[in-house]
């Protein structure tokens, strides 16, 4: 059995060499630039190449479908039915007028045809509604070689299948291990270094080092996702004593923003790995973590937040007022808590480019680990971040109106639909008050005309 020995040796040497080469490449091309915040431009080149390949793939599929003479499944990004924005009152009056045997306008108090309004509106919402589609991933028009987003798979030619297979190999065989290594490095460094910095006495040195460490580790994580981010209007970046609010699509939002600036995070303390990270982060600089029981106490939450913003030496707070992840086609209701504190609000809009990988976290479908694996096996995460000019609550404006104003600004900048619906509808039922409003409106139509009648 000694003749295995030289072979063994050779394998060991080869492994050692490849490991060293691998690690050096990693260090030079990824980690060092992350530390200094520079970029070689490799990711952008990668992105351009991918786009060309996707275009080609989509054309092939369209050709395949044409050859077989089948209409292609085209996903709808906009509405499928025409919905008129007429009010309840307007429409019921119209219905009554068309069937009226009488001469005077809407004089009847109730017509059996009134039900048409409710029937049609109801069936319209069954065919297409504004809310439920926001809680599932957006559908793409072109194919990006990911099985998970292909609806026309029986039009794939041999060439395309080979390309897809190659893509699979690259993504799972090369990109995924690389990214996982980076992720572990980034997170590990974060935990270790922040704990070390926590030993220092409070002061300017500690803050300076803490900022640098946070930025570096987040940048490594950005590369772990191959995130290609374009920041716009950086002159509006959030300052100390302010609150940064952004639309929420995924947990990655935090990494994207925190790799370009330093924030104080807000959230509930978790157990497990997340908890370890949270506890070590707070040693280096003051983040705001709540125990599970404290989260319900709105006064406590508000007090801690306002205490934090009053201390101008502390970093701006980062908050996602929607409270849940939305699929990045719309912005849903902002919870008013962060808008009641009276601090300057720095709105930020984040828009992902879905062609390279869908960043939306559908928490009812995928757990966190599953989600991260999907992210790391996509081609890339491409997004744009816009820093909007700071806003403050105006005279005579209450917290809800202020929140809506900020939401509208974010929606406009990001090209997202501005919705009044609560993101909590992802899991919960809609409040009865909305139905009661409709009933009240309709009742006015029945009772109102009775008053007119008694007058005439």
């Amino acid at each position: 059995d000694s003749h295995l020995f030289p072979f063994d040796n050779l394998v060991c040497i080869l492994l050692g060499i490849s490991f060293t080469v691998w690690f050096t490449l990693l260090l030079v091309f990824i980690i060092v630039p992350a530390i200094f915040g520079v970029s070689f431009g490799i990711r952008r080149l990668y992105m351009k190449t991918l786009l060309k390949i996707f275009e080609w793939a989509t054309l092939r599929i369209e050709r395949g479908a044409k050859e077989k003479n089948h209409p292609l499944y085209k996903p709808y990004s906009n509405a499928i039915i025409a919905r008129e924005p007429t009010s309840l009152e307007q429409e019921i009056k119209e219905i009554r007028r068309s069937g009226s045997n009488r001469d005077f306008d809407s004089a009847s108090e109730f017509e059996m045809s009134d039900i048409f309004y409710f029937a049609r509106r109801g069936v319209e919402s069954i065919m297409d509604d504004e809310v439920t589609k926001r809680f599932s991933a957006e559908e793409l028009e072109s194919w990006n070689l990911l099985t998970r987003s292909n609806y026309n798979f029986h039009y794939i030619s041999l060439r395309l299948t080979v390309l897809w297979g190659l893509g699979l190999l690259i993504r799972y065989g090369f990109l995924l291990p690389l990214r996982v290594t980076l992720a572990f490095t980034g997170v590990g460094l974060l935990v270790f270094l922040t704990s070390v910095i926590g030993l220092l006495p409070n002061g300017r040195m500690k803050n300076f080092l803490s900022e640098k460490v946070h930025l570096m580790c987040y940048r490594i994580c950005v590369r772990a996702l191959t995130a290609i981010i374009t920041y716009h209007d950086s002159e509006n970046k959030p300052k100390n004593g302010g609150i940064c609010v952004a639309n929420h699509t995924s947990p990655i939002d935090v990494i994207i923003l925190a790799s370009d600036g330093c924030y104080a995070m807000v959230g509930q303390i978790h157990g497990g790995l997340m908890g370890v990270i949270q506890r070590s982060m707070v040693k280096a600089c003051p983040h705001i973590w709540f125990e599970r029981s404290e989260v319900k106490d709105r006064h406590l939450v508000a007090k801690r937040l306002s205490d934090h913003v009053e201390d101008k030496s502390k970093l701006p707070i980062l908050i996602f007022p929607e409270g849940t992840c939305i699929n990045n086609t719309s912005v849903m209701m902002f919870k008013k808590g962060s808008f009641e504190i009276g601090a300057t609000v720095y709105p930020v809009a984040i828009k992902y480019d879905p062609r390279f990988g869908d960043a939306f976290w559908n928490s009812s479908k995928f757990g966190m680990v599953n989600y991260l694996l999907r992210m790391m096996s996509s081609w890339a995460i491409v997004c744009s971040v816009w820093y909007l000019p700071p806003m403050s609550r105006e005279e005579g404006e209450d917290a809800v109106q202020f929140a809506n104003r900020v939401k509208a600004a974010i929606a406009r900048q990001g090209g997202l639909v501005d919705l009044l619906w609560d993101g909590g509808l992802k899991r919960g039922k809609v409040k009865d008050t909305f139905k009661e409003e409709q009933q009240k409106l309709y009742s006015k139509m029945l009772v109102g005309t009775q008053e007119d009648r008694s007058r005439s």
């Binding site: 499928i80 039915i81 068309s98 069954i126 998970r148 987003s149 809609v430 909305f434």
Partner: protein, 195 residues
């Protein structure tokens, strides 16, 4: 392939639905995509809960009655065929269809069938008559707590008085059609597709 359309509709099924409902190929595939996105249990059928999850439908005062229209007597699940059959009532009546051969059975979106859909919203026990009691119940759903029992009662009485021609104190389908003969049913009970 884990995508939504892995349970794609077969071409034959699409053709059958086309014949039965009159929807076009692309409309059927779009509505199928909608159906599967509502089907949280991923078992090919929708339950009442699946419909109630649509916020805009949940706040509709007659939401429950409309949901009921999708489920045949005594059943709790509706499949895609049933779903499309009910939705077909709201297809607009195109001009060229009005002259189609009279030998085929009446299309689901005819004026009469649209009126039948509305009639069934009132007819709670499905006995083909709208009694005073049923009318009161539906009115109560539409107005909530904002109108008193007496007022609502007199509205119901007046409505039945005007519609009832054979004196049985309830509204039959024919009486219903007569009352609404001038109403623009075709337009008001139709939903237009953008494609």
């Amino acid at each position: 392939m884990g995508s939504r359309a892995s349970t794609l509709l077969r071409e034959e099924e699409i053709e059958e639905i086309k014949k039965e409902t009159g929807f076009s190929h692309s409309q059927i595939t779009r509505l199928y995509s909608r159906f599967t996105s509502l089907d949280k249990g991923e078992n090919g059928t929708l339950s009442r809960e699946d419909f109630q999850r649509i916020p805009e439908l949940a706040i509709n005062p007659l939401g429950d009655r409309i949901i009921n229209a999708f489920f045949p007597e005594g059943e709790d699940q509706v499949n895609f065929r049933g779903f499309m059959r009910t939705l077909a009532h709201f297809r607009p009546i195109e001009d060229n269809e009005k002259n189609k051969n009279a030998t085929t059975s009446e299309p689901l979106n005819s004026r009469t069938n649209k009126l039948l859909f509305a009639f069934r919203l009132y007819d709670l026990d499905r006995d083909d008559k709208i009694s005073r009691d049923e009318l009161l119940q539906v009115l109560r759903m539409m107005v909530g707590v904002n109108i008193s029992d007496e007022q609502l009662g007199s509205i119901a009485d007046r409505t039945i008085q005007e519609a009832d021609t054979n004196g049985d104190n309830s509204i039959s389908f024919n009486e219903f059609i007569k009352v609404l003969e001038k109403v623009d049913v075709e337009q008001k009970m139709s939903i237009r597709f953008l494609h």
